[in-house]
């Protein structure tokens, strides 16, 4: 039974990224304007010291110690558990009280970090390579490692729509609550850096050899990042008992397709325009109600002009404050929607706006300039968070003060 008007609340958040191993340390880095980008240390690749990335500053052994998972599993599962566990503990919901609980996760390449290690031996001899390195190759297998460790069983699934994956998992989770299928959903996504994605993006020639500069006239491309971000979504009934825990409400969401090109965005941002417009329509808000946009803002030439043009078409002449936090965290692909949902929830709770780091020359084609400094005591009522991906998959979420 679907109730359109049923509210869905964010009752817990958890994040791990290049700028911090938990929510508090990420917030501190955002306030101190400290980016997490640097040389590659975790991957054995020829691109070391050439292509900068945003690595989480814990190795697999440290992540395993912090999460209770074994260090030999995919780093994507380790990162996912790190953030999902923080979110779960933050919400403080127990499994005891007969709540129907789900885990809706997202990632782009599953256990690829282990698969690529396996392949070196496997290609030489089909009977070589450690099987346990491919046991969790599937995207869903990575999700289940985390779901099992969290003790979540009622509903578990995984979405993979490239860079919009975890925005989609969050709003699918919210819909499961609105349909009265679940009471509580841990939703978001995780992705570890892999040689597969690093080389893949490198062939597309969209990786910046310097620190990325989203929405800058002279932007050169994106920096890949890794991490995980989860929110704990709860129904009105659950929220009523934990009012002091609530961060915000997920008031709007929408998914649209650009239908332009497998990897490039259309010049006028047809997909991103439709996603933002759809999310506004569902939330019942006007463009002037939005306090802040957490941009997709990858720093590629193509994304930023396409997204910027879509924002101009939709918001002109009143532009909310906006910034891309990817200048801090890098582009974390399947995790980005989850990480940025956490940042959006924190912006509302703490009334803060994040800076768009390293913005030197604003884009000439756009009539607005993203925020350049961290701001406190701003009334942040509604945050629009954008996540756009390969395959034209565009999703927008709106978080609102409750």
């Amino acid at each position: 039974m679907y109730t359109k008007s049923a509210a869905v609340y964010v009752a817990g958040v958890g994040v791990v990224s290049a700028i911090g191993n938990d929510t508090a340390s990420c917030l501190l880095a955002l306030e101190n304007e400290t980016a997490g980008i640097g040389h590659i240390t975790s991957l054995d690749t020829i691109h070391k010291n050439i292509i900068p990335v945003a690595e989480v500053k814990l190795d697999n052994r440290q992540l395993a110690a912090a999460t209770g998972l074994t260090p030999s599993v995919s780093r994507t599962a380790l990162l996912g558990m790190m953030a999902a566990k923080e979110a779960w503990n933050d919400a403080g919901i127990s499994h005891q009280n007969n709540l129907r609980t789900g885990f809706v996760s997202a990632n782009s390449v599953g256990g690829m970090d282990k698969t690529e290690a396996f392949f070196t031996a496997f290609l030489k001899d089909k009977n070589s390579g450690r099987l346990k390195d491919v046991a969790n190759h599937e995207c869903g297998a990575v999700t289940e490692l985390v779901a099992d460790a969290l003790g979540i069983k009622n509903f578990v699934t995984t979405i993979s729509t490239a860079c919009s994956s975890s925005a989609n998992s969050i709003f699918f989770g919210a819909r499961l609550i609105k349909h009265n299928i679940l009471d509580v959903v841990v939703a978001g996504g995780a992705d570890a850096l892999t040689k597969f994605t690093l080389n893949g993006f490198n062939t597309l020639q969209i990786l910046d050899k310097e620190f990325c500069q989203p929405f800058d006239e002279n932007r050169r491309g994106l920096n890949l990042g890794e991490g995980a971000g989860y929110v704990v979504l709860v129904s009105e009934r659950v929220a009523a008992n934990i009012k002091e825990k609530l961060y915000c409400r997920l008031s709007g969401y929408s998914n649209a397709n650009d239908a332009h090109h497998q990897t490039a965005s259309s010049p006028d941002g047809a997909g991103s325009y439709a996603a933002m417009k759809g999310a506004l329509a569902l939330s019942g808000l006007q463009t002037t109600d939005i306090s802040y946009i957490n941009l997709h803002g990858t720093g590629t030439f193509n994304n930023d002009i396409s997204e910027g043009t879509a924002i101009q078409r939709l918001f002109e002449p009143h532009y909310p404050k906006m910034s891309s936090t990817k200048a801090f965290t890098g582009h974390t692909l399947g995790a980005s929607g989850g990480i940025e949902a956490v940042f959006s929830s924190l912006a509302i709770k703490h009334n803060i706006i994040y800076p768009n780091l390293r913005l030197q020359t604003p884009m000439q084609a756009l009539p607005f300039i993203p925020e350049r400094v961290f701001q406190k005591n701003v009334n942040v009522n509604h945050v629009l968070s954008n996540s756009f991906g390969f395959g034209g998959n565009c999703s927008s979420l709106i978080f609102s003060k409750y």
């Binding site: 289940e144 993979s160 497998q262 034209g392």
Partner: protein, 355 residues
């Protein structure tokens, strides 16, 4: 809420695709030897623009062609939403990029295989071909990838966010995945005919693959095959007792009993251990039911329930079981229940009913 199955498109190892009007369901059984069933691929030029075909891998072609055939049958140019399920994604492109990355030591790589390795490629290619800007999602959850996509589609229809949803699943077997999954002991050792799948009494099953799409709607039409009345999944049940309870609970929620089910389609796959789950149920919940199996037709793969849903919908449309299944219904076929488990981890139930 009833979900109407208006049209289907199914590329499988059997002759299930683009059959002539009036041709009866599964007229003959395609018998393949070995332990790996391959899809019978159509002439893609009928379904996809030639300039797109050149760049597409096999699974992308199969998925896209199945989707196009489904839309063609429905008489719809473009749906209100596209929702895909795939457990493995585009394995051929993934394997190709990995191979080159390793063998060329990360040098001189080209982007095509990487671009097309993304799990959402099929859904995206369908949107691109149709110029469809609507909702587009891809679920990648192992043995519940198709069920998750179906749930999303049903929810979209209930929300009135869509009146037509193109939903389906695609998974392929490649030489790499076959070699790796064989080492995990998934498949039977040595060669058998698919027709002997249930008579070997040994470990393992047959590798399978397929791409099947459905046009689902919240509105009835004259073309409808059947309705999908309910979908339910459960994860890692504690044992036979919980499985029984879950199935009984599902039937109760639907206000029917096992006696009301005319045919049960189970996911029996020839693996002695996994099949005990079905054997137990045939002694209890399904004791008095006519039970048929489908995995000798398409092999085992995580999204094989898309084939099962196609079979269920087609049997209802046809009004009888095809002769190749060697069973007949004792009554007019009204309710058909699909029950499958994938490695006893992912379990799903679908209730399909005549309109």
């Amino acid at each position: 809420m009833k979900t109407f199955i208006r049209a289907t498109g199914n590329i499988s190892p059997q002759k299930t695709f683009g059959s002539e009007p009036g041709a009866s369901l599964l007229q003959e059984l395609v018998i393949q030897k070995g332990n790996r069933l391959r899809c019978a691929e159509p002439d893609y030029l009928k379904y996809i623009d030639a300039k797109f075909i050149r760049r597409m891998s096999r699974i992308i072609k199969m998925g896209t062609a199945a989707a196009m055939e489904c839309l063609h049958e429905a008489g719809i140019k473009s749906p209100d939403a596209i929702v895909m399920g795939t457990a493995y994604g585009c394995l051929e492109d993934t394997g190709l990029f990995l191979k080159k990355m390793v063998e060329q030591n990360e040098e001189m790589l080209t982007p095509t295989a990487f671009i097309q390795s993304t799990h959402n490629t099929i859904g995206a290619q369908i949107a691109l071909l149709l110029q469809c800007h609507n909702y587009n999602n891809t679920f990648v959850h192992r043995g519940l990838s198709f069920e998750s996509a179906l749930l999303d589609a049903i929810m979209l229809l209930e929300e009135n966010a869509a009146t037509t949803v193109l939903t389906g699943a695609a998974d392929e077997i490649t030489d790499y995945s076959y070699a790796i999954l064989s080492r995990f002991g998934l498949y039977k050792k040595g060669s058998i005919a698919n027709t002997d799948l249930y008579n070997t009494f040994s470990r393992g099953t047959l590798a399978g693959e397929g791409a099947a799409f459905f046009l689902l709607s919240n509105q009835a039409s004259a073309k409808d095959y059947a309705t999908l009345d309910a979908l339910y999944t459960f994860y890692k049940p504690a044992g036979a007792k919980e499985i029984e309870e879950q199935i009984a609970g599902f039937l109760k929620d639907q206000h029917i009993t096992a006696a009301d089910i005319d045919i049960v389609i189970t996911g029996r796959n020839g693996d002695t251990k996994g099949d005990t789950v079905y054997s137990e149920l045939e002694k209890t919940v399904f004791e008095k039911n006519t039970v048929i199996n489908y995995k000798h037709l398409c092999g085992e793969y995580p999204t094989s329930t898309a084939f099962a849903l196609w079979l269920a919908a087609s049997v209802i449309k046809e009004g009888s079981l095809p002769a190749v299944l060697e069973k007949s219904a004792t009554s007019k076929i009204k309710h058909l229940l699909i029950y499958n488990h994938y490695q006893n981890i992912h379990h799903s139930l679908m209730l399909v009913t005549a309109c």
